[in-house]
């Protein structure tokens, strides 16, 4: 057990050296981090300012420069788990199908008689057919409008299922189409969320899909989750609609076919009657900026793409003197009167806005509308003060814990304790080195995991030393005793650590956020402590024994 071939020695020493070098950037955290930032900025093609070059060169480029990511609980920031209301889209799909079906069924009016939509369940489209004896024709007509679903799992099925119940035609979304729709909604939502957060200019956001219909958003450095919520809370669906009737204060006014009754955003109780089909939608915008109108009030200026500009130009040319409505998320922001033909495809939204609101609105318009509403499941914010306190507290606790364990080990095992302490130090260095290399995140429970590992890491060495003591008492010579100590303690070390590793793996698989951070450091700690105990300390001890060749040995 005590013999090491040369290449084995080299490998062990190289691993240890790597651990020290890889952990080093964390000791000079701010220098290494700003150097990494500067390198990334330069690679992104930003100008080579002296500050950037100086920041880059502050850390030697031939050394590893990865540092551990600090979790939100240590750095401060906001964490948001939202659920996308994917089912909102179903009703929308049915509505648009209704528009199509209406046209097709009307063509068969002679056979079908009058047709009417029954509104009772948002998840299905029910159409009452007057001449229900011709239901077969109605079903065939509606079925002709459906199209096959293009997906792997839904092969052979169509997007809508058409059936009948007494005198009603019942149309629902097929399961395959629901899945496909959900998938599309999620992808769009992720994209829009990403764009909105990027537009807001935050640093290193994490945006991840979780499960079938959730999105996890983590943004370091944001002071409160409300800031984030303000960016995500609105779908920001902007449309420009023709005003088709006089304003009213009666919420029960019937707007008439093809029209909508929409509330005003500024004035409570005021309603506008606007056309259901918008003239132009927010998807035709190419840009939006916070600006001021001629009266110096905050406003949002925008410009359309070519199609939008043409449509809008045509509409304004035909409706000079008429009002049109700017509708945002189902509310009329303003309804200015068209003064002249607007041909340039640019305009301004004015309303009762604050500067903050116009800035946010312009971000939302630039990023695009969310396909469905986001429901917040979980929001967590950690202020930067608490994060900094936690880092400080974790550092002190780790240092005191390390010192305590180290002193205790020397008192108990003398020189052998010193060797165990070298292993313990290497152990911590390697945990940090590995964490940096794999891009792991250090959280406060993660620091707890490291401190806990310090206590438990010496266990393997304690097992070996105690065993060696026993062998010495049994009268073996030093070489033999140490050798037996290692070989006999090995099975206990492996069994004991594997069982703890099982717990760490389960924790990682089921835990979330900070708990995962704990599982990672605990798991890494187990691996490195076994390595240091059965390779490093053994190598040191065997070298020492071969060098001194002691006749007697006390541990």
């Amino acid at each position: 057990m005590l013999h090491f071939s040369l290449w084995k020695k080299i490998v062990i020493l190289l691993i240890c050296a790597w651990g020290l070098v890889a952990a080093a950037p964390n000791v000079y955290y701010t220098i290494a981090e700003s150097s990494n930032d500067a390198v990334a900025e330069l690679e992104a093609g930003l100008p080579q300012t002296p500050e950037r070059l100086a920041a880059r060169d502050a850390w030697p480029q031939f050394l590893p420069s990865d540092v551990v990511n600090l979790g939100l609980d240590l750095r401060g920031g906001a964490h948001l788990l939202v659920e996308v209301a994917v089912e909102d889209i179903y009703a929308e799909r049915l509505d648009s199908f209704w528009t199509e079906a209406l046209r097709a069924l009307r063509n068969e009016r002679d056979a079908l008689g009058s047709i009417r939509r029954q509104y009772d369940n948002p998840n299905e489209l029910r159409i009452r057919i007057e001449n229900s004896e011709n239901m077969r024709l109605a079903i065939e007509t509606a079925h002709a409008l459906t199209s096959p679903v293009i997906s792997l799992s839904g092969a052979g099925s169509r997007d809508f299922v058409v059936s009948s119940e007494l005198d009603e035609l019942v149309i629902t979304l097929s399961d395959a189409e629901r899945l496909a729709t959900d998938e599309r909604t999620m992808e769009q939502s992720l994209e829009i969320v990403r764009r909105r957060i990027d537009e807001a200019g935050t640093r290193e956001p994490t945006i991840q899909r979780q499960g079938s219909n959730r999105i996890l958003i983590q943004v370091p450095g944001i002071g409160s989750a409300e800031e984030l919520l303000a960016l995500l809370g609105e779908t920001a669906k902007l449309t420009f609609n023709a005003v088709t009737g006089p304003t009213t204060r009666d919420a029960n006014t019937n707007p008439g076919a093809g029209n909508l009754l929409l509330p005003s955003q500024d004035e409570e109780g005021l309603f506008y009657i606007v056309s259901q089909i918008p003239v132009v939608g927010g998807d035709q915008l190419t840009n939006a900026q916070a600006a001021f109108d001629q009266n110096g009030r905050p406003s949002v200026s925008f410009s359309f793409n070519v199609t939008g500009a043409r449509l809008f130009g045509q509409f304004t040319a035909e409706n000079i003197g008429q009002p049109f409505a700017i509708v945002l998320d189902g509310k009329v922001v303003s309804a200015p009167v068209i003064q002249s033909h607007i041909s340039g495809g640019a305009g301004q939204i004015t309303g009762n806005f604050t500067l903050e609101e116009t800035t946010r609105l312009s971000i939302l318009l630039r990023a695009g509308a969310l396909p469905a509403e986001l429901k917040v499941m979980e929001q967590r914010t950690v202020g930067p003060e608490l994060g900094a306190d936690s880092v400080e507290a974790g550092k002190i606790a780790a240092l005191v814990g390390f010192a305590g364990v180290a002193i205790f080990m020397v008192l108990s095992y003398g020189m052998f304790g010193m060797i165990a302490n070298i292993a313990l130090f290497m152990n911590v260095a390697m945990i940090f080195g590995l964490l940096s290399a794999i891009g792991g995140t250090l959280t406060l429970p993660g620091i707890a995991g490291i401190v806990l590992t310090m206590g438990m890491a010496v266990d393997a060495n304690v097992l070996i030393f105690e065993r060696t003591r026993e062998e010495l008492r049994a009268g073996r010579n030093p070489f033999r005793a140490v050798e037996e100590g290692y070989s006999k303690a090995l099975s206990a070390i492996i069994d004991g650590n594997l069982t703890t590793l099982i717990a760490a793996i389960v924790l990682y698989a089921f835990g979330s956020g900070p708990i995962r951070g704990f599982a990672i450091t605990l798991g890494l700690g187990i691996v490195t402590s076994v390595f240091t105990a059965i390779w490093l300390t053994r190598l040191i001890l065997s070298s020492w024994l071969k060098w001194r060749r002691p006749k007697t040995l006390t541990i």
């Binding site: 499941m377 429970p445 089921f510 605990l522």
Partner: protein, 326 residues
């Protein structure tokens, strides 16, 4: 001269009072279950849903003042506590007053739930000056339900995985003993949390799983020695043999418990308030886990008996003896 917590050779008769120690464990487990059933646990918002704010105030506003301002909001049960943080007291000259405001879940509507944070902040800012919001959390009932479920599954899976591993490496009697010890540790930890009303949240689940790992580590080291002795002393009485194994590993058991506890106490007193609940659970778990590997796990092995005579098949005892040396 070396510091020795345990003498070189000890001959403590651990099973002399086996009935009493095991009885005490059984009583403690039953008591924990009763306390848990009657008191319940002080669930954090991870498991209950609701809103939590951690606030630092430049002046000693007093818990009552916060409550007076917040109760007219009609949010139901509002819980305000002052956080006592001994590590903060180490920063000379800075006197800080930290408060924790917790509000139960607001209806089923998630929007309402999220509005709660904003509403509480606005209300407090209108009444007090210079408040710093150190931490805010809002968890909806839906997510907290999933977290509870996930945690229960996690603890159960780890116990089953461990049962399986020990069964592979040792005999089934050892497996039963090890798992009984684990369940004992987990139940007693939950009992303590129920008894003193400490907040039970996700990090406590992490602590429970770590306790499972540690306690098992401890148990396995003793069992490893038992396994070795079983091979060495084929005719020794099982009780004597177990006693011997525990005595032989006692020094290591104490050493490791002490170093781990040293690290944990450093965390408990210096690691800040956020990890204190976690560290408390760990400290308790290490003490209980060390106790249980001797007085629960080994005791059960003693009672179940281990097959000793390898030549004759014995249907009442373990049939396979793991002869692994790895």
């Amino acid at each position: 001269m070396r510091l020795k917590l345990v003498k070189d050779e000890t001959h403590i008769k651990f099973f002399k009072f086996a009935r009493i120690t095991f009885g005490a464990s059984v009583v403690a487990v039953i008591a924990s279950i009763i306390i848990f059933l009657s008191n319940g646990l002080n669930y954090g918002i991870d498991f209950r849903g609701g809103t939590m704010l951690r606030i630092e105030s430049p002046v000693d506003s007093g818990v009552g003042a916060f409550r007076d301002v917040l109760s007219p909001l009609g949010m139901g049960d509002i819980n305000v506590t002052e956080v006592f943080d001994p590590s903060a007291a180490l920063d000379a000259g800075t006197v800080r007053h930290e408060y924790m405001v917790r509000v139960v879940q607001q209806g089923d509507d998630d929007a309402e739930q999220n509005g709660a944070v904003a509403l509480i902040k606005a209300t407090l800012d209108a009444n007090f000056e210079g408040l710093i919001y150190l931490q805010t959390e809002a968890v909806s009932g839906k997510v907290s339900g999933e977290l509870v479920q996930g945690s229960i599954i996690a603890v159960m899976i780890s116990v089953i995985a461990v049962l399986f591993y020990v069964w592979l490496r040792f005999e089934w009697q050892f497996s039963v003993g090890a798992v009984a010890a684990l369940v004992h540790d987990v139940i007693l930890t939950i009992g303590v949390f129920s008894l003193i009303g400490l907040e039970f949240n996700l990090s406590i689940i992490a602590a429970l799983l770590t306790i499972v790992g540690y306690s098992l580590n401890d148990t396995v080291v003793v069992f490893d020695r038992v396994r070795e002795n079983l091979r060495k002393f084929k005719t020794m009485d099982l009780k004597e043999l177990l006693d011997r194994a525990i005595n032989e590993t006692l020094s290591r058991t104490v050493m490791t418990a002490v170093t781990t506890l040293m690290a944990l106490f450093a965390l408990y007193f210096l690691g800040g308030d956020v990890v204190r609940g976690f560290t408390f659970a760990m400290i308790w778990g290490i003490i209980i886990g060390t106790y249980s590997s001797v007085f629960v796990a080994s005791n059960i092995v003693l009672w179940l008996g281990v097959k000793r005579d390898w030549s004759k098949p014995d249907p009442n005892a373990g049939t396979q003896f793991a002869d692994a040396d790895a």
